[in-house]
């Protein structure tokens, strides 16, 4: 620090503010408009910078880092193309409620708006894909804005924020204000405590329910480990069956006896049937997404609905609910568990017996069944083996987007929150691998696996170079069927099996590709060799690309075809070519 106390350059303020907000790692890429900040990074050792190969990679790494730790992920990009490349992960983080702080360089203030080199209107471009953003024009505002950025990113419903800092502001000298000295904002005050009257009302309703279900989501994970704890307690206390969205997997353990599996478009038969037939639905930190509800006017038609969410705009957005409870999931569930315990004596547990025997019948339908094969590796089998061989280890799983993602959700059992990183809302192909790199940075000793498809992995494959540089032994497990499998599946369902551009004619040799980057490549084509190959992957201390050749034409079932209700699922044993071709009617074709 030079001169008077707390006088620093803008670039020094950035580093100081990051340290004061507990940042240990940032993911970034240098460029002209952030050079002063990079110069400061060079001159300190507290914060480790991970050099990515593309800014999209930096964003997804920060997301994986945030999702697996519960901390804020930080990315640093330059102006212009650096900022525009950050847009995809920002929108991804917005839709999946991931706390992210993106610091971007901007051209010097007097040049803004003059079409300067590497200039873009960053605050304009990122306004709709962030929770909030700032253009900092005065160095004396910089510290306060960065502290606010961290508060906004992680409080309430978490999300991404952008702080755009012109280069002259990075050079200018101003006063550093520590986080404790920043007055809190008046306009943004998320409500944590739920309305006790509403919670009482909810408990009353739950006590008399004969066919109840808990439908939990990503909000439980975001609310922190306490929320999962109280959720498990609630399930134990009430004896209710529980299902979860894609984003909520792991909040309740997959081995738990009340677990019905994931719900929604590729959810289990028992979860979707129970949602359809229930009389009381307790939605906890989920948002009635269209992949979950199926046809809205046939969604759980005879149930009373309770909805716990911290975001007021999520309530009554898609589905009208009877008892909305606005507040933090952990805080509300703590109250709910307490009220239930107090009333436990008056609850007749036997009333749920018929409901559970119904569920047993649906379970017996075995909706995740597939035809095994001795000749080719079935993708579902590959995930099952991967799960069996890694479940006793300290494992984190990320995915790309497509069939492999759904199979991973169906066949990999998650016992803990924060172990499952996937792009749910935006559905970003290319998310999984950089996210896995971010997870590995946060958990260097753990086993981190990106379950990938052959198409998705090619969207951010360049980060192999980053993984090798930092010795991050991430495993990429590719279910390689040479197709964009989910696109092909929809073409079969919707477009008369005309497979327009969903087959990849020229596929890289993934083993050689791994070696070219300095990693290790493994290929497996036979079910009998799979276990050994997976063990070899786990035991390799470097980054691995595992090219798992799977049955090319396998499809992902069960499925709620678009425009259909939860009780109109297409089950694997019924999914003949004809049934697939006719599954979606003209109305459903309008939807996605």
């Amino acid at each position: 620090m030079s001169g008077t106390e707390n006088q620093m350059t803008g670039a020094e303020i950035v580093l100081q503010a990051l340290k004061d907000n507990g940042v240990k790692h940032i993911f970034g890429y240098p460029g002209g408009a952030v050079l002063p900040i990079y110069d400061e990074i060079f001159q300190q050792e507290e914060i480790e910078h991970i050099l990515v190969r593309h800014e999209q990679g930096a964003g997804h790494m920060a997301e994986g880092y945030a999702r697996s730790t519960g901390k804020v992920g930080v990315m640093l990009v330059t102006s212009g193309p650096g900022a525009t490349n950050a847009v995809t992960p920002l929108q991804d983080a917005l839709m999946d409620s991931i706390p992210l702080v993106c610091i971007s360089g901007q051209v010097p203030t007097p040049l803004i708006g003059s079409d300067a080199f590497q200039e873009c209107d960053t605050v304009g471009i990122t306004r709709p894909c962030t929770k909030h953003n700032w253009l900092v024009k005065d160095v004396n505002d910089l510290a306060r804005i960065i502290h606010e950025a961290f508060r906004i990113a992680q409080s309430g419903r978490p999300g991404p924020v952008v702080v755009d800092i012109p280069k002259d502001v990075q050079f200018a000298t101003g006063t550093y204000t520590p986080p404790s000295a920043v007055p809190s904002q008046k306009s943004y005050q998320p409500k944590m405590q739920g309305d006790l009257k509403k919670i009482e009302e909810a408990v009353e309703l739950m006590k008399t329910a004969r066919r109840p279900i808990i439908y939990s989501g990503g909000g439980v994970i975001n609310s922190g480990p306490q929320a999962s704890h109280f959720l498990r307690e609630l399930v134990e206390l009430t004896g209710f069956p529980i299902t979860s969205t894609l984003m909520g997997l792991g909040a309740y353990p997959a081995s738990g006896k009340n677990w019905l599996g994931m719900l929604g478009m590729h959810g289990t038969y028992e979860a979707n049937m129970a949602m359809h037939d229930c009389d009381v639905m307790v939605c906890i930190g989920a948002r009635f997404d269209d992949r979950i509800t199926g046809r809205l006017n046939a969604f759980s038609p005879n149930s009373k609905k309770i909805h716990i969410d911290i975001d007021p705009s999520s309530i009554n957005k898609n589905v009208r609910v009877d008892i909305p409870i606005l507040g933090d999931v952990a805080t509300v569930l703590e109250d709910m568990d307490r009220l239930w315990r107090a009333a436990a004596k008056t609850v007749d547990k036997a009333r749920l017996e018929d409901w559970w025997s119904n569920i047993a019948k649906w379970r017996a339908r075995n909706s995740l069944a597939y035809t095994p094969s001795d000749d080719v590796i079935m993708p579902q089998y590959a995930i099952q083996r991967l799960y069996e061989l890694t479940k006793d280890r300290d494992t984190y799983i990320t995915t790309e987007v497509g069939q492999h993602q759904m199979w991973a959700a169906q066949f990999f059992g998650f016992e803990q929150p924060n172990r499952w990183m996937t792009s749910g809302g935006l559905g970003t192909m290319g998310y999984g691998f950089p996210a896995a790199v971010g997870v590995q940075v946060a958990h260097p000793e753990s086993l981190v696996i990106d379950i990938a498809g052959d198409a998705s992995i090619q969207m951010c494959i360049q980060e192999m170079s980053c993984a090798v540089q930092y010795g991050l032994p991430v495993k990429i497990f590719i279910l390689n069927n040479q197709y964009m499998g989910m696109v092909r599946q929809w073409q079969q369902l919707l477009h008369g099996n005309r497979l327009s551009h969903s087959y990849t004619e020229a596929m890289p040799d993934f083993v050689k590709l791994a070696e070219a980057y300095g990693g290790v490549g493994i290929r497996c084509e036979k079910p009998g060799e799979l276990d050994e190959a997976i063990r070899q992957m786990i035991d390799t201390p470097q980054p691995v690309i595992f090219d798992c050749r799977v049955a090319n034409l396998a499809n992902c079932f069960p499925m709620i075809p678009s425009g259909k209700a939860h009780n109109e699922m297409l089950l694997p044993d019924e999914a003949t070519d004809e049934a697939v071709a006719n599954a979606i009617d003209a109305k459903g074709r309008q939807l996605v």
Binding site: M1, S2, T9, A11, E12, G32, A33, L35, P36, D39, E40, Q43, V107, P108, T109, P110, L111, I112, G113, S114, A116, F117, D121, V123, G124, L135, K137, K167, D168, F171
Partner: protein, 190 residues
């Protein structure tokens, strides 16, 4: 620590801004369609410029044209840049910097008028005083009971500022202002 880096270490030429910021009033004639306001405003917010007043309404119904009046602060050079970039926007028909035009016509400033609703709560002496002052400012009473008045006042922004300031000690509750409507003096249109 980084003092030696100051101006020379940049990949950009960082020149100190020497012009002083001025307040200008701009008139923008646009197609009345969704998104047009965001496009116009984006040129100001992208530069970190605050908008002090904004008025939008359809002024030509047949042609679906809206007139936007914006008051902002910036250096004359950047405001001219904004004006040129506004003219480049597809749904924008015409842009006039009324402040610059007024100067070229030899006027001090364009005609600027604003309407405000002012709610005052009080009794006794305060109430009488509020009514007397309203009369002096030619504000009219548009709602009242025995405890409150709502005044409607139009005029230059400075007159409205003054009226609000003197209502403050007399029980001012709330104020709503339309933002200014503006045009230049003389026979020509914008």
């Amino acid at each position: 620590m980084s003092a030696h880096l100051q101006p020379t270490g940049s990949a950009y030429f960082i020149a100190k801004e020497t012009e002083l910021a001025e307040t200008h009033t701009l008139s923008v004639l646009v197609d009345n369609e969704p998104g047009v306001l965001a496009r116009v405003i984006g040129l100001f917010s992208g530069r970190g410029y605050n908008i002090e007043s904004l008025t939008v309404s359809e002024t030509e119904h047949e042609a679906h044209l809206s007139r936007i009046t914006i008051v902002t602060r910036g250096t004359p050079h950047v405001l001219e840049q904004i004006k040129n970039q506004l003219e480049r926007l597809v749904p924008v028909h015409r842009v006039v910097d009324l402040t610059v035009r007024a100067a070229s016509l030899g006027h001090d400033r364009p005609i600027e008028r604003e309407l405000a609703l002012v709610k005052v709560h009080g009794s006794g002496e305060h109430r009488v005083e509020a009514l007397r002052l309203a009369d002096a400012f030619r504000a009219s009473v548009i709602d009242a009971n025995i405890e409150h008045f709502v005044f409607e006042i139009t005029g230059k922004p400075s007159k409205i500022e003054q009226f609000i300031a003197i209502m403050k000690p007399l029980g001012l509750i709330e104020v709503c202002r339309t933002g200014i409507a503006a045009m230049n003096r003389g026979p020509q249109g914008m």
